[in-house]
């Protein structure tokens, strides 16, 4: 019979239409601005810079190494490295980005900057309502706009942030242990030198290597200080 197929199809449409009044499964739309679906944890749109502690300028993890700038596919990142150094979270003096700009209108949210960053300094945000009527400056973000706290990162990507924090804590502990060992080694060497006594003191050149693990045989560390809590910062200051 002509029209049978059409009638069958319309019956299916009717089933969906009336079903939408009783079954949530058939009513899949969400009234967006009022009603919002939660974003999945992996959601990403634009990058931000992570900082530790209360002060964003002091706690910025970024050291201005410019790897993300180089690897960014659409080249939306612009970094100027600082001339001087500031101590980072581990107390080690590091460069910092004097200028760090991201052109959000160019960024394509690919997450490659996050993958290549060796310092866990840049992460993806989930904020998406960013429209602006400022044509030039509105979407060119500098580091004051990009800096967001580690707590924010923990809030938007809890699982990933917990992993990152654990890894950073481990690295910090390792660095501290290393510094401690260096102090101990230096102290032992100094004590040995004092014990020997016969030979005159070696020329006390300051240890030039940046790595604090170099057990400097000089008498810079007093033999009377066998590795107390004056661990990392005093040694690291040498370079």
């Amino acid at each position: 019979m002509l029209g049978e197929g059409i009638a069958k199809g319309l019956a299916e449409t009717a089933r969906n239409f009336f079903g939408s009044y009783v079954s949530k499964e058939r009513l899949t739309t969400v009234q967006f601005p009022e009603e919002r679906l939660p974003q999945p944890e992996a959601a990403r749109d634009f990058p931000f810079l992570v900082y530790d502690g209360p002060d964003w300028q002091a706690g910025l993890r970024c050291v201005g190494c410019q790897i993300c700038e180089k690897e960014c596919p659409p080249k939306c990142i612009y970094i100027e490295k600082s001339k001087d150094k500031k101590p980072d979270a581990l107390g080690k003096p590091q460069f910092y980005p004097a200028v760090f700009n991201i052109d959000i209108s160019v960024c394509m949210s690919c997450q490659i900057c996050v993958e290549v960053c060796p310092f866990e300094a840049i992460k993806m945000d989930t904020e998406f309502e960013l429209s602006t009527d400022d044509r030039f400056g509105g979407l060119l973000w500098d580091k004051s706009q990009l800096a967001k706290s580690n707590e924010h990162y923990n809030k938007i990507h809890p699982t990933e942030a917990a992993e990152v924090d654990a890894r950073l804590a481990e690295e910090k502990a390792k660095a501290e242990a290393k510094a401690k060992a260096a102090v101990q080694a230096a102290a032992q060497a100094a004590a040995k030198a004092a014990e020997a006594k016969a030979s005159p003191a070696p020329p006390s050149a300051p240890p030039s290597g940046s790595a604090p693990s170099d057990s400097a045989p000089s008498g810079s560390a007093a033999p009377s200080a066998p590795a107390t809590s004056s661990s990392s910062s005093t040694v690291a200051k040498n370079d």
């Binding site: 002509l2 197929g5 069958k8 199809g9 992996a42 596919p73 490659i112 993958e115």
Partner: protein, 405 residues
């Protein structure tokens, strides 16, 4: 819209059927000769697009009509050209990966896989077992959502505004939600890496996939109830836009269009790339090569994809997801060349790479199924009505991001 009158071609438009020899050039010459007045017929030249709602993206067709019938059809594209290949040659291998998402933006995970496959061939990387399964699962989910939306659009173009498309998009949305919770982005996934995948699956993700895959056949049944035996559908699709087997092979056509014309060629079976030799699935083959066959092939392929997904979800092992030899920064494959190809939802998607040992490819070439499948559009449309053109064009299933690159 400009209308200019020229003479009709030497061959009468009603007699024209799709033939194995495309004769665009000779026809144009014949058309000019006929303009002198030895043929009384008048052709109406109209320009369909680039912002016509039924063209998929910014695509234009210069159509010559004799009454309602297509005499000549010239695809005009390039509006979406983004210099993809040259950008990839100036950037590192990794930096091209997010650009591949934007080729065929309906199926970014398939594109990722094709590119990763060719770089893995070039660099000799081994993909771990679990990553191979993840790739199969994501690629088949991509095929489901691509075919669902293609069919939805196709029916929409036949005049069924809304309903079938919305049903298809409802299902597509479920799959895109899976992609978002996996990779962070619904469409621009950027998920695969050379030698594996970027991140481990989120907790509970496989169970969500199992749920979606288990429900998917219900959508297919519903869609068939909605449309099977529909008289209008039959009238609009059967015997329309026939592509002969010979022309399909000569034109280098791949994918569902080729199989609808009766050629048994599926790269998943021919190449058995990845781990496709482990799955039990059939390749649907059409008999007539018309619009209806191309529609049905996609419906049947979705059922086969569900089968593959069920097997992959059953067998997926645990283990690492990245080759330990692979590295993100400072990736320099040794000098050489490689061509990796996969059966993307639209056809054979291949990446040809030449490396000279530097961090960026010396040559980077995409073999886009959309562009090559588009070349037979004129042969499929000639002799049919203008309204059929839109439907025939819809069955090719092109994405302009991939055509123009």
């Amino acid at each position: 819209m400009s209308a200019t009158a020229t003479g009709s071609t030497a061959t009468g438009p009603t007699a024209i059927r799709p033939t194995a020899t495309p004769e665009i050039a000779t026809q144009e010459i014949a058309g000019k000769a006929a303009a002198a007045g030895d043929n009384p017929g008048e052709l109406l030249e109209i320009s369909l697009g680039p912002h016509h709602p039924s063209t998929h993206g910014v695509f234009r067709m210069d159509v010559s009509l004799d009454g309602e019938r297509i005499v000549k059809l010239k695809p005009v594209f390039g509006y979406l050209h983004r210099n993809h290949e040259k950008i990839a040659e100036t950037a590192s291998y990794l930096a091209a990966m997010p650009y591949t998402d934007r080729l065929d933006y309906m199926c970014s995970l398939s594109n990722n896989w094709a590119y990763a496959l060719s770089v893995e061939k070039l660099a000799g990387l081994q993909v771990p077992e679990r990553a191979e399964y993840i790739r199969v699962i994501t690629a088949e989910l991509t095929r489901l959502q691509n075919h669902a939306s293609t069919i939805g659009f196709l029916i929409q173009e036949m005049g069924a505004s809304g309903t079938p498309l919305m049903y298809a998009f409802r299902e597509r949305e479920k799959i895109l939600d899976l992609f978002e919770s996996l990779s962070g982005s619904r469409m621009m996934c950027n998920y695969m890496r050379f030698g594996g995948c970027r991140v481990e699956l989120p907790a509970g993700w496989l169970d969500e996939v199992r749920k979606v895959v288990a429900e998917f056949p219900r959508f297919l049944d519903e869609f068939e109830r909605l449309l099977a035996g529909n008289e209008i559908l039959m009238a609009r699709t059967q015997g329309v836009g026939v592509l002969s087997k010979e022309l399909a092979i000569q034109g280098g056509i791949t994918g569902p269009i080729l199989r609808a014309s009766g050629v048994n060629y599926d790269i998943r079976k021919v190449d058995k790339y990845g781990i496709y030799d482990r799955f039990d699935f059939k390749v649907p083959i059409g008999a007539h090569g018309d619009v209806y066959d191309r529609y049905m092939i996609r419906m049947l392929e979705m059922r086969e994809s569900v089968k593959i997904l069920e097997q992959a979800l059953r067998d997926i092992p645990s283990g690492p997801i990245m080759d330990p030899k692979s590295k993100i920064r400072g990736f320099r494959p040794k000098a050489g060349e490689a061509y990796g190809r996969i059966e993307s939802p639209k056809g054979e998607l291949g990446f040809y790479l030449i490396s000279d040992g530097s961090p960026n490819p010396y040559r980077y070439r995409v073999r886009p199924p959309s562009l090559i499948n588009l070349t037979v559009l004129e042969d499929m449309c000639r002799g049919y009505n203008l309204a059929d053109t839109v439907v025939i064009f819809g069955t090719i299933d092109i994405v302009l991001g991939e055509v123009d690159r």
